[in-house]
Amino acid sequence: MKSFSNTYIFVFSTIMVVIVAALLSTAAMVLQPLQERNIKIQKKRNILSSIRIENNAKNAEELYDKYISNSFVINAETEEQESFNAFEIEMGLQMKKSPEQRSLPVFISSLDDGTKKYIVPVHGKGLWGPIYGFVALNDDFITLYGAVFNHDDETPGLGAEIDTDWFGAQFADKKIFNKNMKFISIDLVKGGADPESLNEVDAISGGTLTSDGLEKMLYDCLSSYQTYFKNQMKNNK
């Protein structure tokens, strides 16, 4: 077998790494606009799914324009912040800030039956990476209408099940405030939720850490909207 000097090995690996790096960064830059467009469409699809509207990659933008009638950004004192575009806000970045400094997007949708749904984004940590989604509330601001969750790299078959239809469907008609108007969020219960319970859903078997992360995400994100929800309830009366 031919033998190679150490210098040769170093030079060889350096050249190889530089070529590979150049190739990969070019590919990443060229494909980025297309990928970002896909991510935007996916976000619109998630918002639509949270209000239980069937959609696909082709009609998502059209349906989004049809059903999402308004969107705005509020701060912790629930004042509207006009300089922000709700769709562009990254909930992940907002959740890293202290509660007073967060800019929180709200999407309002008018459905075909004339009812209004309020959609808020949620973002948190799963086991391996970020988990995120959208939660839609009825206009009483107590009952959930729907929810959809997504993840970047949870374990397929276990934690990754949070993006399935059956998991999201459990959240419909659950309540995030109790009778005394105390914020209770939604509990993910291992070993089966009590069907009578108003704020329990089944956790994912084998996905305990993802389920815990999701429960914490719902609590953290929805609680930042508490004041807004309560103000809206007063306005309703």
């Binding site: 190679f4 060889f12 494909l31 990928q35 896909n38 996916q42 790299d153 078959g157």
Partner: protein
């Protein structure tokens, strides 16, 4: 090379056809089972996965084979892995740009092509000691051998598990539910992929003389 052989000599043709039958990476060498279980619930991701592996394996085989005389043996495994990883990342980026839905379904398994033993095995066993053209044929042959099994498994799992082909409700259209048939939910679960692969191995072994072991 003094004795140039034709591009498609019978030896080269064998490189293409053997992996489809007597040397199949999944059913005979039993490699790459992990991904075969995970992404064959539906036909579409199976096909995309098969195409991805064909691209990754054939290109890495050619690259490694072209460089084989320059690669220092002491770092050859690292070089092979770098080439495979580069190809896989490229495939992943392209899928994210042009087939976002499928890329979400395949999720981590595109990245896991890097660890697919078939690819590493072919680079080390074949490309390191053969010319680029034969390495290319070997790559195509082996990845198609892998892909064909994936597609067969994906076809049966989607048909029997969800009653659909490419998301089109076949069973509903031909009215098979009316006579009391129900979708087999077990088909959706990974163990069923193993059983289907087992059945394929059984059928293949009983029909191919070369594979029948003497007892």
């Amino acid at each position: 090379m003094s004795d140039r052989e034709p591009l498609f000599s019978s030896k080269n043709i064998k490189l293409l056809t053997n992996p489809l039958n007597v040397d199949n990476p999944i059913t005979v060498q039993v490699l790459g089972i992990c991904s075969a279980l995970a992404i064959t619930v539906k036909l579409e991701p199976s096909i995309v996965m098969a195409i991805s592996v064909i691209v990754v394996l054939s290109v890495s085989n050619v690259v490694i084979s072209a460089l084989r005389k320059m690669i220092p043996p002491r770092i050859r495994i690292i070089v092979q892995l770098t080439v495979i990883a580069t190809m896989v990342i490229l495939v992943d980026q392209v899928l994210k740009a042009f087939a976002y839905d499928v890329s979400k379904q395949l999720s981590v398994f595109v990245g896991l092509i890097i660890t697919n033993c078939i690819i590493m095995g072919r680079l080390e066993a074949f490309a390191m000691s053969n010319s680029p053209w034969t390495a290319f044929l070997d790559g195509i042959g082996n990845s198609i051998g892998y892909g064909v099994i994936l597609i067969i498994v994906g076809f049966f799992r989607e048909l029997l598990g969800s009653g659909e082909i490419f998301g089109y409700p076949v069973f509903e259209k031909i009215g098979i539910y009316n006579i009391g048939y129900e979708n087999n939910g077990f088909m959706i679960l990974p163990p069923m992929a193993l059983i289907i692969i087992g059945v394929i191995i059984w059928v293949q072994r009983s029909r191919t003389k070369e594979l029948i072991e003497e007892s």
